[in-house]
């Protein structure tokens, strides 16, 4: 995997000859996945959300690194039960010089449901909103169906675009009585701007690059670089070559096997931030028999908490992180990552104890183990197959007759949704930057009607956890809510409802003379980049 010693030395010495690739006013970024559209509401997917953060401000900014909500288009807000009042920043102006108004906000939030032809909307972020009414031009009141403690986090994902009409729409949960929703193509070809942001898109060439120019009328702090070019370089080797040759200044999604090479290169630096995404194995706790388990007379051993505990004890997380992930991950014992709201610092690390694992298996009646195939995707998460292979070996070491099957993601998640696995590798992040959404998604009883437990495909279910999360859903007091989330995780921990492995660490690599700030949401934040001092 790693380049031979001679070759990497050659590369390092070659790099010393490099001057700057472009003027200091331009930043070139090699990105693994390109945005599918410029339209901020079109597609809920990482690359699109990453671009949106730079070109189309939301009402607020969710700083996942510090865990605080910062003002953006809304300069201030106050909450009273289910009523949220926002004051808009009068200095925030669109390209035509008009300041952002309540009509624009209502139009944008309503467009989320009505964006034409979207392959994946942001609907779940606005589901709790019942009504929006303007209060004059520069203020508005959003009322939610019940108390919604994460409304700000949800709103931070919705970019505000300019409404075609000055007249505010009547907000409802359908089409708001409107039919002109602005086509995604118009955003892509530049005839409509994506909103108000530190940058604006001046050229979008799919498969090639996206060019951003500094927005000189921006109401906030002006970004340093006049021009940013996002070059789509999906191939890992090609992306690293582009950085080494000086073709780009920054790359995202640095693959694990390139970490050492970049670390050793004095002209380059690694920039990383712990990310909220938990990589885990989920246990099928519903099927009887479970689809991929045999040798148990039709019983599903994973329903037995002793077996789940045994499997958890059999995994050496320290080794997984240090060897398989080359240190680019944080060991996990629970769902929510340490510096995300709702993390439970009191839960001890899950020990690595194969002896006790064997005892527990014997106690549960599986002295001779059982036969199980575990499932993993091969192209979804960083090093997913290698991680699954390591876990397979660790489980085999405590006497389980285990084998591994891997699928490309195009096949994998479809099967997971049809519950075809017994124990499967998955990942789930805190999309809104706090723990509640992650817990609702992963550990709440699966309830498609209400959109709960969507990633809980092992169907872990605990009345107590459900009760705690339901309560957290309507608790506005942060400390009380935090306590509820922590308690829910303690229950899951005791139940061994999941096999948490590690939280991902997002890694960028940049030239040593570029200051680039990492982001826990794995977004490329371009407006804080500048030459290093």
């Amino acid at each position: 995997m790693k380049m031979s010693g001679a070759a990497s030395v050659a590369i390092i010495s070659a790099c010393a000859f490099f001057g700057t690739s472009a003027t200091a006013q331009e930043l070139r970024v090699g990105i693994a996945a390109e945005p599918v559209a410029i339209d901020p509401h079109f597609f809920r997917t990482g690359p699109n959300m990453s671009l949106r953060e730079n070109i189309s401000d939301a009402l607020v900014y969710n700083n996942q690194t510090t865990g605080t909500i910062e003002p953006r288009l809304a300069s201030s807000w106050e909450v009273d039960g289910t009523e949220w009042r926002f004051d808009l920043n009068p200095d925030a102006v669109f390209a035509d010089g008009k300041a952002v108004s309540a009509a624009d906000v209502i139009f944008s939030l309503c467009r989320v449901r009505n964006v034409p032809d979207s392959p994946g909307t942001f609907m779940s972020f606005i589901e709790t909103i019942e009504a929006i009414r303007p209060e004059g031009e520069r203020s508005l009141v959003i009322s939610t169906k019940g108390p919604d403690p994460v409304l700000l986090e949800s709103l931070s994902t919705i970019g505000i675009v300019q409404a075609p009409s000055d007249e505010p729409l009547e907000y409802d949960e359908a089409d708001c009585g409107n039919s002109d929703w602005l086509s995604t193509q118009a955003f892509n070809n530049g005839s409509i701007e994506a909103g108000i942001g530190p940058y604006r898109v001046t050229s979008y060439r799919r498969g090639i690059d996206t060019v951003l120019e500094r927005n000189d009328n921006y109401y906030g702090e002006a970004p340093h670089y006049q021009r940013v070019v996002l070059q789509a370089i999906p191939e890992n080797g090609a992306r690293i070559a582009a950085l080494l040759s000086g073709g780009v200044d920054v790359i995202d999604a640095v693959p694990v096997n390139a970490i050492d090479q970049i670390y050793d290169n004095e002209n380059l630096q690694l920039v990383s931030a712990p990310a909220s995404r938990l990589i885990f194995f989920a246990f099928d706790q519903e099927g009887e028999p479970s689809p991929k388990i045999t040798g148990t007379d039709g019983k599903n051993p994973l329903k037995d908490v002793r077996v789940r505990k045994a499997l958890n004890l059999a995994v050496n997380r320290a080794q997984l992180v240090s060897t398989t992930m080359d240190g680019i991950a944080e060991e996990a014992s629970s769902i929510v990552m340490a510096n995300i709201f709702g993390a439970n610092p009191d839960l001890p690390r899950i020990p690595f104890d194969p002896a006790q694992a064997r005892e527990l298996l014997a106690e549960a009646g599986y002295e001779d183990g059982f036969t199980m195939t575990i499932s993993a995707p091969s192209d979804r998460y960083r090093n997913d197959t290698e991680v699954a292979q390591s876990v397979t070996q660790m489980l085999a070491a405590v006497g389980i007759d285990v084998s591994l099957e891997t699928y490309p993601q195009s096949v994998y998640f479809d099967r997971a949704n049809r519950f075809e696995y017994s124990m499967y590798l998955g990942g789930a992040g805190a999309d809104t930057g706090e723990g509640l959404s992650q817990l609702l998604n992963l550990v709440h009883t699966r309830d498609p009607e209400r959109g709960l437990g969507g990633a809980n495909r092992g169907r872990y279910s605990s009345e107590k956890v459900d009760g705690l999360l339901q309560e957290a859903l309507v608790t506005l007091d942060p400390e009380a809510r935090r306590a509820l989330l922590q308690e829910a995780q303690a229950v899951v921990y005791e139940d061994h409802g999941y096999m948490p492995l590690y939280h991902e660490v997002a890694v960028w690599a940049a030239r040593a003379d570029v200051h680039f700030e990492p982001n826990a949401g794995q977004y490329n934040i371009l407006y804080t980049a500048r030459p290093a001092e």
Binding site: S118, M123, T184, S245, S410, F413, G426, G427
Partner: protein, 328 residues
């Protein structure tokens, strides 16, 4: 001649039809494109909305009929992910693929036909052996690895060429291409060489084998005995007669260069059709996959047709055979 062309086209349509059915059933068997597209954290309501928007809530046969219905009006449908007409998306990538194929083709033919000719005429010289050794290496090296080596060598080590992307383009006579700018040509060179190397190896071998076969035939010997100048023997008698096998191979190879540049385009981040195909397969973007494969099939059918027509130009025997009715 015309009847012949029409019959070929009829066959081609049948092939295309079978192809679309295959892709539909194939993608359907692999999984639900909605699951490959949407965020794993998405709610059920979002998932259902996506499935509806993509038309995947209808039964497969109806999806297929809708597709055929659109096709009758020349509409291949919209990409699942970009939601734009796939013909438009393919067209936007075609230029990059064509110029890469063109450059690789010129390099490959320009170098390998003379080399093959030499190796065939003088098989025992040192140079010929060197040429054949080179061609053996060329076919043995995996293109992916070879591309990386080229990048490390010329892009990072010597640092004389850019390592990826298409570079600047310019528009001449309505054609936008990177062939017209220096920056574009610099970007084009490495990927074109990477693709040409494999084709060169093949073409050298085909040319040499054909030359060696032809040069021993009676008419060449007769010409030589008659005292025809060697230059004329080579250009008229030998080159003219090796055109048939060469044309066949070239026809297929041009198609391969345009349609299957997947590896080179991936390694060099070249924004052509190959990369589009790979990324579309990863997310099961069925409309793009189908349109791409139909385009590819059509491309090969047309190229074969052109080759067949060229046969009649270079080989009077074929022309006579067709005229006398035996369209074979």
């Amino acid at each position: 001649m015309l009847v012949y062309a029409f019959r070929r086209m009829g066959q081609a349509l049948l092939v295309l039809f079978a192809l679309t059915v295959l892709v539909f059933v194939g993608v359907w068997m692999i999984g639900n494109p909605a699951d490959a597209l949407i965020s794993p954290d998405a709610s059920m309501a979002e998932r259902e909305a996506a499935i509806r928007a993509l038309g995947l809530d209808k039964p497969l046969w109806q999806q297929y009929l809708d597709f055929v219905g659109g096709l009758m009006q020349g509409d291949f449908g919209n990409s699942f992910i970009y939601r734009e007409p796939v013909t438009q998306i393919l067209a936007s990538r075609l230029g990059a693929s064509l110029e890469l194929a063109f450059a690789a083709f010129v390099l490959a033919v320009g170098i390998s036909v003379p080399l093959g000719l030499y190796a065939g005429l003088y098989p025992d010289t040192r140079l010929s052996q060197a040429i054949m050794g080179f061609s053996l290496i060329g076919v043995s090296i995996p293109q992916f690895w070879q591309g990386m080596v080229l990048i490390i060598l010329f892009g990072i080590w010597l640092a004389v060429l850019p390592v990826g992307g298409r570079g600047d383009t310019a528009t001449v006579f309505g054609i936008t291409s990177s062939l017209f700018t220096l920056d574009g040509l610099m970007h084009l060179l490495l990927p074109a060489v990477n693709m040409a190397l494999l084709k060169m190896s093949l073409l050298i071998r085909v040319t040499r084998a054909a030359v060696m076969e032809v040069k021993g035939l009676d008419y060449v010997r007769f010409a030589r005995a008659k005292g025809v100048r060697p230059y004329r023997i080579v250009t008229k008698h030998i080159l003219g007669n090796i055109m048939l096998p060469l044309l066949t191979v070239l026809g297929i190879e041009i198609g391969n260069l345009v349609a299957y540049a997947v590896i080179t385009e991936t390694v060099f981040s070249w924004p052509g059709l190959g990369r589009l195909l790979i990324s579309s397969i990863q997310v099961l973007d069925r409309p793009v996959i189908i349109a791409y494969l139909c385009f590819t099939a059509l491309l090969f059918i047309v190229l074969n047709l052109i080759v067949d027509i060229l046969y009649t130009v270079v080989d009077p025997r074929v022309r006579d055979a067709i005229h006398s009715g035996g369209a074979k």
